[in-house]
């Protein structure tokens, strides 16, 4: 059997940045796995956003399940200009985002994300990008803050037989 789970790109911020972009993603894999570990520079809880192929149209939505240490809840947003992949607060924030069947040109794109910030919240998210385009770039941003220096994002490709 051939091994698969191939690192495609990794970036570590040397200084704070409003966005992190992973571009020129090849279409040779079946799924993508994005591993995020980082913080924001606001010192407060911030929503982490994800956008594909620089599409800023209102073509995104998500459904969320989360627990914050005192209660569990669920929510969603629809017809938004970017989706949501995790809340970001503290150097302990880790999010693993699974972008399924990202290169197909027949269906909309669904991703699953698990956001983990030990000081704040744990989350499960399903997101939708209403586009049949193959995903060739991913841009991360934050609500009203920057990603802090040292934030690291690694993208892997998983290829099925």
């Amino acid at each position: 059997m051939a091994s698969t789970y191939t690192p495609i790109a990794t970036t570590t911020l040397g200084s704070a940045a409003a966005t992190i972009t992973l571009s020129s993603i090849p279409s040779t894999y079946t799924d993508l796995v994005m591993v995020f570990r980082g913080n924001n520079d606001a010192g407060a809880n911030r929503a982490g956003y994800i956008r594909f192929n620089s599409d800023s149209g209102t073509n995104y939505s998500y459904t969320l399940l989360q627990g914050d240490g005192s209660s569990a809840g669920s929510g969603r947003d629809s017809n938004i200009a970017q989706s949501f992949f995790a809340n970001v607060l503290g150097a302990d924030t880790v999010a693993i985002t699974q972008i399924m069947n990202y290169a197909n040109t027949t269906t909309n794109k669904t991703f699953l994300s698990r956001g983990n910030s030990a000081s704040t919240v744990t989350q499960a998210i399903v997101g939708l990008w209403r586009s049949t385009s193959a995903i060739n770039s991913i841009t991360l941003s934050l609500n009203a803050s920057n990603y802090a220096s040292g934030t690291n994002v690694t993208l892997y490709g998983v290829k099925s037989a």
Partner: protein, 182 residues
């Protein structure tokens, strides 16, 4: 015991050498009532199924092992529907019921499932799976975490994912099985 994504940021060369594609089932235009992986080798530590599915009318994904249709399965679930979080449990079942899938009411939208079957070849333990599943259709959707139990000490050699309620997986549904080495 590396699980996809969990320690990927720590040591990815090890992950890349430990994760292998075993087989893929892709559903054609005629649909399929189930997807099945047979003759699964016992040479891995864990299995992972990565699937995107769509059913004719919201049938759930029922997981069974080794063609066992006895009431030997159980599960717990935690899910959100966009308004509230809920939990449930199932016992003495003939399958492990995963999330209802996206339906024809949500055009071109598929449910995503990632299922980890842990220590699947062990012949001393009952078998446990965990899964993350969800679909969003821009105004509706579910996201779910689940654990499942198969009360058998047999090594798993066959894994079937049935579209429940007599429904069918629709075209472009796909199921990929991976093995993770210890």
């Amino acid at each position: 015991m590396p699980i996809l994504g969990i320690i990927a940021s720590q040591n990815y060369p090890r992950i890349t050498n430990s994760y292998e594609s075993i087989a893929t089932v892709t559903v054609g235009s005629g649909g399929a009532s189930y997807a099945e992986f047979t003759s699964i080798s016992s040479t891995y530590q864990h299995l992972q199924v990565r699937a995107v599915v769509r059913s004719t009318s919201g049938g759930y994904a029922g997981v069974t092992f080794n063609s066992d249709t006895g009431n030997n399965y159980a599960s717990h679930e935690l899910y959100g529907n966009g308004s509230s979080a809920s939990a449930g449990a199932y016992t003495t079942r003939a399958d492990i019921p995963l999330m209802p899938s996206a339906t024809s009411s949500a055009a071109s939208t598929f449910t995503a499932l990632i299922i980890d079957v842990l220590d699947y070849a062990n012949t001393s333990k009952y078998k446990t799976l965990r899964s993350l599943e969800g679909w969003d259709a821009n105004g509706s959707g579910y996201v779910e975490l689940q654990s499942g139990l198969w009360q058998s000490t047999s090594a798993i050699s066959t894994l079937r994912i049935t579209c429940a309620y007599g429904q069918s997986w629709q075209q472009y549904s796909s199921f990929a099985l991976y093995g993770i080495k210890g």
